[in-house]
């Protein structure tokens, strides 16, 4: 299968840059430390804020970093680059589905990043930081499912944003904007329950909290199994909606190449 082989090649590409792997672990770990200091400070005279303890919060933020590494959407830069440099023409000349190829590459990258960066960070966290195991081991399958769905949501969003650039061709890379929005609105840095109630309610109507906050909340026990299942249902809804949008946008973007010529 061509797609599986593309996935495998991406793993190999990543492994050729061994130095980057170590640099990645180091930078992430420093970021995590900064986060831990911050939360320690916040919790200095309180044991519990809104029902979440210090250990839970630190676990949340360390895992958030692990998750960020595994939420890798290379399509954002690769599609842009291929259009800008005109390689898209060569790629379209292959009897293969281009989006499928990008997806395969990203899954490959995620697999290798998970093993080479996320796992070491997690282990370092267990050794040096007050990282907690999940409240209930029964939630782990749900955490996994919500991670996979969360990845799909982010990937489809990235695909959509990069295709938007593709159609307009003049806006530059909107991906950076998207990344910022995701970072703030997904609860990856600060969980949304710290936001004012009305803002939190509004944000829960966007796809963003279902990428970070859902799997992390499940893990630390802030979101119980019933609520988790409900939110996974919402994830599925967003996945479908974004999937349809991507399919439509792809058709349009492809026509644009076909008619305007890359």
């Amino acid at each position: 299968m061509a797609y599986l082989y593309k996935l495998k090649l991406q793993v190999q590409v990543y492994l050729t840059y061994r130095f980057e792997v170590f640099a990645n672990i180091a930078t992430h770990f420093i970021l995590i430390l900064a986060n831990v200091f911050l939360w320690n400070c916040v919790y200095s005279d309180q044991k519990d804020i809104l029902g979440v303890g210090r250990g839970q919060m630190i676990t949340y933020s360390v895992l958030s970093s692990c998750l960020a590494v595994m939420y890798h959407c290379g399509i954002q830069s690769s599609l842009n680059k291929d259009v800008r440099e005109g390689n898209i023409a060569l790629l379209l000349m292959k009897p293969i589905h281009l989006l499928g190829a990008y997806f395969a590459e990203d899954v490959g990258a995620v697999a290798v990043r998970a093993v080479s960066v996320s796992v070491p960070i997690f282990l370092l966290g267990l050794l040096f930081l007050p990282l907690q195991p999940p409240v209930l081991f029964r939630v782990l399958p749900l955490v996994m499912i919500s991670y996979v769905f969360g990845f799909m949501i982010l990937w489809l969003l990235s695909a959509l944003v990069s295709m938007f650039t593709f159609v307009t061709m003049e806006l530059g890379n909107m991906g950076v904007v998207k990344d910022m929005i995701v970072a703030i609105l997904s609860g990856s840095m600060i969980p949304l329950w710290f936001f004012p109630d009305r803002v939190e309610k509004m944000l829960m109507m966007t796809p963003f909290p279902y990428t970070y906050q859902l799997p992390l909340g499940l893990y630390i026990g802030k979101i119980d199994i019933g609520e988790g299942l409900r939110q996974i249902g919402i994830q599925a809804f967003w996945m479908l909606l974004l999937g349809v949008c991507v399919a439509l946008a792809w058709k349009k973007a492809k026509n644009k190449v076909l008619i305007q010529g890359g």
């Binding site: 061509a2 190999q12 009897p95 305007q260």
Partner: protein
Amino acid sequence: MEQIVLDNVVKEYIVAKKKKGMLGALANLFHSEKIRVEAVKGISCRIEKGEIVGYIGPNGAGKSTTIKMMSGIMHPTSGNILINGMSPQKRRKEVVKHLGVVFGQRTQLYWDLRLGETFELLKRIYRLPDGQYNGTLEELRAVLGLDEFMDIPVRQLSLGQRMRGELAAAMLHEPEILFLDEPTIGLDIDAKQAIRDFILEMNRRKKTTVILTSHDLEDVMKLCTRLIVINKGIIVEDGPISEIVSRMATYRMLVLEVAEPVQSIACDKVEIMKIEGRKVWCKFDHHAYTAAEIIHALGQELKIVDLSVREPDVEDAITNIYHSA
């Protein structure tokens, strides 16, 4: 069998016209004027299986637009294209299975991995059975001498090696049609020769139809039997290469070395191109006069020490076509 048919193909682009300066740049953010550009203005041609066709023209003539339309990755504004009897626009995936492409300025090889990995990937993309893949690869390895660098990462290959890799990648699925866009750009003479030999070999063995665009006229002369010249979106010449050359290059160049410096020549059968001390370049219409007549006429007024006659070549013919169109 007619493998490629183009009927009155037109391609128009809408291009945004940008205003100048800082204010203009700001204005462009909101609105930019659209202008219509005709890149290809109604071209028709037919190419048979097994032909090697030189498709040439100056930059911006519409060459790559035509190639993109033939491979289905661009739709013509009007007109018809058939590849193997199929429309590449309607059945792109089917058509591209039988196409091989090499763009000299681009790469389809995996930059960070050994060359062989790209071939393995292509094997899967084109769903080649093991037997066929191994057979073709074996053949390509021998003809292109790939063995010495099969296991080296592509980024470490020399340009010549990389181009051999690109050609192998394009031929791996044994396409019936091969589009080559500047396949020898930037290569040294040996590497160019190796690429040319390979193209001829593949054409001979597999009857691959080759469409070659190149600014290197030596490529064209050594490979092609037929020439299609496009300029400003129109086909201006289409025919056997020798015919075009003899028709377009009607003049021969005569280079004389004379005993004493001259200022001008009275003989009206030749046109003086350049005089440099005792060297004179002049051209004459070789349909009107023979070289002997010219030399005889010139000999009457000049003391010729040495002379040479230059044959017309593709370069002259093409320069002529470009400028006359």
